[in-house]
């Protein structure tokens, strides 16, 4: 078998050059909490591993035009310590903090969670609900890709050869906005989501929902952006009737698998329940003026 090489470039250009030279054999390394498990299990055999953690742009959190830009290789622990992100996007932060244990949080990143391509990745429905846009760099330059367009199948992304995610841009946060993420797992910690739901809303001064986005995880081959579920909320005060419609739309969007962790029927039902509960938490946060 081909020998594996390890490189840790300190610039985006150097990383792009290495990855495009390596072609199929190249792999990005962020926190390694998926990649090293896959290496050990013999599931992947990269000829070159490019550790991106020495590149300043992928490790920084900065304010940009009223919103935040978060590096793809910022760890869950670091995100949870960032006061600005916790205040503006508590749903994104709580989703990312659900990834694994304290030890896993010390290494796991949103970029890795997304690009690993799991339909059950916890941060992804929250990122989709937030309207986060990935800044992708590669041999043909930089491009912006909405998070919902990155995963195209289990373990598969729309990234081209040599491309990787540099950072996520979160939109400006109007007043009266809130987001939340909930997942169902059989235990209280350290498990893979059976269903995950992220909801993000903005209210007007009278408490009427002006904008909403809903993301679902683990209920289809990819995490989903569910426009019908968002439409159920827009124009309402998130009264019972609107929440019923939201739950129905969330359930209707599910195309889940049947396995020992959850049946199709269970996942479909729970998707609606969690979307509804997440919407109520987002509503509280929006009213608190977060």
């Amino acid at each position: 078998m081909e020998e594996m090489r390890y490189e840790a470039p300190d610039s985006l250009d150097a990383a792009v050059a290495m990855l495009s030279d390596a072609g199929e054999a190249g792999r990005v390394l962020a926190g390694g909490t998926d990649l090293l498990v896959q290496l050990r299990a013999g599931m992947v055999h990269p000829g070159l591993v490019v550790d991106i953690k020495n590149i300043p742009e992928v490790r920084a959190i900065s304010e940009e035009g009223g919103g935040f830009r978060v590096g793809a290789a910022v760890t869950g622990a670091e995100l949870g310590e960032h006061a600005g992100m916790c205040k503006a996007w508590p749903g994104v932060v709580e989703a990312t903090e659900l990834i694994g244990s304290t030890q896993i949080q010390g290494r796991a990143t949103m970029g890795g969670n997304l690009c690993n391509g799991s339909p059950a990745a916890d941060s992804v429905p929250a990122l989709i609900a937030a309207g986060a846009v990935a800044s992708v760099i590669g041999p043909s330059g930089q491009r912006d890709v909405p998070v919902e367009d990155i995963i195209i199948g289990p373990g598969k992304t729309s990234l081209e050869k040599g491309e990787f995610v540099v950072s996520f841009k979160f939109p400006d946060r109007p007043a009266h906005s809130g987001d939340a993420y909930l997942r169902f797992i059989p235990r209280t910690e350290m498990d893979i989501a059976v269903v995950g739901a992220g909801v993000n809303i903005t209210l007007d001064d009278d408490g009427v929902c002006q904008a909403a986005r809903v993301g679902l995880g683990a209920v289809a081959a990819t995490p989903l952006l569910v426009a019908d579920a968002a439409d159920a909320l827009i124009g309402s005060t998130l009264d019972d009737a609107a929440l019923e419609k939201l739950a129905a739309a969330a359930s209707a969007a599910c195309k889940p698998i049947d396995d020992k962790r959850g049946t199709i029927e269970f996942r479909t039902k729970v998707a609606g329940v969690l979307a509804r509960r997440a919407a109520l938490i987002a509503l509280d946060r929006a009213k608190e003026g977060r």
Binding site: E3, M4, R5, Y6, A8, L29, G31, G32, T33, L36, V37, L39, R40, A41, V49, D51, K53, T75, A77, G100, S101, T102, Q103, I104, G106, R107, E189, M190
Partner: protein, 159 residues
């Protein structure tokens, strides 16, 4: 195979080692440096027996590459006692019988120390969540949690 030359700091001492690109930090600690206090329970991030600190962050040594450690500060269980004097957590683990076979103990101690370094007065719930990534097949956890909370109380009272 080409080896990687890494300069790092382990438990306060400058250390240099050579490693293969696929060796994990845990492989390097145990097989190259003979620091065998960090244990390998699962090699997949699930059990926490390999817990170490890298630049003050608690991580699984089985899920980091040895080659990544250039310029980093690593702390392992070997650095916890001060010579012959046990760290208060180690002492309390003995007093509370918070170990049986002992495989999980180094990982629990390193993880618990990093909790108390950040939060000298954790609640039981905070302690249980912080240690949720450390598995023990023997004790049933209760004695471990008691030992950590008792250590925290004693350290706060400055005894």
């Amino acid at each position: 195979m080409s080896k990687y030359h890494v300069s790092t700091t382990i438990n306060g001492d400058p250390v240099e080692y050579l490693c293969e690109p696929e060796q994990t930090l845990l492989d390097v600690l145990r097989d190259e440096l003979y620091l065998t206090g960090s244990k390998e329970g699962c090699a997949s991030g699930d059990c926490g027996a390999c817990s170490v600190l890298v630049d003050d962050r608690l991580v699984c040594a089985c899920l980091a590459l040895g080659a990544e450690m250039g310029g980093k500060k690593i702390e392992t269980i070997e650095g916890m006692a001060d010579g012959d004097e046990l760290h208060p957590l180690q002492q309390k683990f003995l007093e509370h019988a918070a170990l049986q076979c002992g495989i999980c103990t180094p990982g629990f101690l390193v993880a618990a120390k990093s909790l108390l370094d950040r939060n000298p007065d954790p609640t039981e719930e905070e302690t249980r969540y912080w240690l949720a990534g450390n598995l023990c097949r023997c004790t049933g956890y209760d004695k471990i949690i008691r030992a950590v909370l008792d250590t925290a109380a004693e350290m706060r009272s400055g005894k």
